[in-house]
């Protein structure tokens, strides 16, 4: 694999007929040209641009954390930091809600963890039917750049596990860049926040997990307890099911 470089829109990434343009790239004669600002990624003839910035583009199956900004007759409008608001239908809530009872369930300003189950026609349809979704209470929300979410999750959830184990908190990562952290003590939550911020600042480093382990042990002076790890691994399996789009 070639070294990753910062690519500017309109710049030629590679030349040759054998290459295929992927996300953020297009073909122009012999050249594969970038359509986005980001890092070039040439792997196995597929050329794509990994974005460094830009708004979160919702995809089917993503887990998002957002705020209720509107209530209609049929459901709730959820703002999750994208260019469009998501819609949570009353039928996508795991219990019957009568007319006029919507505000009793989710009110304005409530923070909701939901799953994207469709993005057709420019609408983003959300669901909270599965276990673990719904209104979020307590804990803290950490906002990160949505393009760095894959780093926070890590390969097969390794980074999330590390954060969970090190800080003794439960961590739910929304693909839109909102992370919910809840622990027994506020200090634990603050530690988790520090680790997440460290991950985002150093997201470009190779071998990030080891660096973060170092940071946890030497800078934050926290122990990584092995016993809790086993529980975390079970949790990560759930997380994986929830986040199929995590590998990048």
């Amino acid at each position: 694999m070639e070294e990753r470089k910062i690519i500017i829109p309109g710049e030629t990434i590679v030349q040759g007929d054998e290459f295929l343009p992927g996300d953020g790239a297009r073909r122009e004669g012999q050249d594969i040209v970038a359509c986005k600002y980001g890092l070039s990624d040439v792997s196995d003839k597929l050329v794509r641009v990994i974005p460094l910035s830009g708004v979160y583009a919702p995809r089917r199956g993503n887990v998002i954390i957002g705020t209720v900004v509107g209530i209609t007759f049929k459901g709730w409008l959820i703002d999750f930091g994208s260019h469009i608001n998501g819609f949570l239908n009353v039928t996508e809530v795991p219990r019957y809600i009568g007319r006029g009872e919507l505000r009793d369930h989710f009110d304005f300003g409530d923070v909701v963890c939901a799953k994207v189950f469709g993005t057709d026609g420019g609408n983003v349809d959300l669901s909270v039917k599965l276990r673990g979704f719904g209104r979020i209470q307590g804990g803290q929300l950490v906002n990160v750049n949505p393009n760095k979410v894959p780093r926070v999750i890590g390969k097969e959830g390794s980074m999330v596990n590390l954060i969970k184990v090190a800080s003794n908190c439960d961590v739910t990562v929304g693909q839109n860049g909102v992370i919910w952290v809840i622990g027994d003590k506020i200090e634990d939550e603050l530690n988790a926040r520090k680790i997440i911020e460290y991950v985002c600042e150093n997201s470009f480093l190779a071998g990030l997990t080891e660096k973060v382990e170092d940071y946890v042990k030497n800078t934050l002076k926290l122990e990584i307890k092995q016993t809790r790890f086993e529980n975390a691994e079970i949790a990560s399996e759930n997380q994986q099911e929830e986040q199929p789009g995590e590998q990048q």
């Binding site: 829109p9 309109g10 953020g24 359509c35 600002y37 460094l52 830009g54 708004v55 260019h83 420019g122």
Partner: protein
């Protein structure tokens, strides 16, 4: 050889030489994308926010996102104070910059939304609209807005009968002979398409042809500086 009353540039530049450029990407941390572009004493700061929800709702386009450019000069940017806020001139420049930038951005993926570009001029010494477009192109790229290519813009002038690249305020006020003609031109980086050409003053067709050729060389240099600045965000790049 035609004789011209304009024989030497006031600041000693060659006729096809640009003013010293300073470019920096990421000057406003709270924005999605931002850039500063300085050419001589002219300085422009561009800020990009979005794609985000569009208000007022009647401006929404269900087929693709829209671009909204606001150009403003700060009240202290020139010698005698400029009244801050909307002006007829500001509206015109906002609109032509918007048309120029619209040629390269691709907002098909963001229906019903808006990308706001705010261009501020803290210091003006002619060529503010081209400086604004140069900064806006960098800011849009940094914000992660899908773009087909970059844009570079330069103002080429005709002082009496001499063509000069990157006009400054002193040259703009040159009144001898045929007087000054100022032609701001914006070109795309890859296909070299003209996306902005404004002209006030007198110029013949062969002269305009030559002027466009001169602008191409200037824009190429500006584009190189833009690329350098984008490769090293947060660093001041000189050119």
């Amino acid at each position: 050889m035609v004789t011209s009353a304009y024989k030497k540039r006031s600041d000693g530049r060659k006729f096809d030489e640009l003013r010293p450029i300073i470019a920096k990407v990421g000057v406003v941390p709270s924005a999605d994308g931002s850039a500063m572009y300085q050419s001589g004493k002219t300085r422009a700061i561009a800020v990009v926010r979005g794609p985000r929800l569009l208000h007022p709702k009647h401006m929404e386009n269900p087929e693709k996102g829209i671009l909204r450019v606001t150009y403003q000069m700060m009240s202290f940017s020139v010698w005698d104070r400029i009244k801050p806020g909307n002006s007829r001139r500001g509206q015109e420049i906002s609109k032509v910059s918007e048309w120029a930038l619209n040629e390269v951005v691709d907002l098909d993926a963001f229906p019903n939304s808006v990308v706001d570009v705010i261009i501020q001029i803290p210091q003006a010494d002619a060529g503010t609209r081209v400086a604004g477009i140069n900064a806006a192109a960098m800011a849009l790229a940094q914000a992660g807005v899908p773009m087909r290519e970059m844009i570079a813009a330069v103002a080429v002038g005709k002082m009496d009968r001499t063509l000069v690249v990157d006009v400054d305020k002193e040259e703009e006020d040159f009144e001898e002979g045929e007087g000054p003609t100022d032609v701001p031109i914006a070109l795309t980086s890859r296909s070299n398409k003209i996306v902005l050409l404004q002209l006030d003053g007198k110029i013949s067709v062969p002269e305009l042809r030559e002027l466009i050729t001169m602008s191409k060389a200037g824009c190429k240099k500006i584009n190189e500086v833009q690329m350098k600045a984008l490769k090293e965000p947060g660093k001041e790049v000189k050119g």
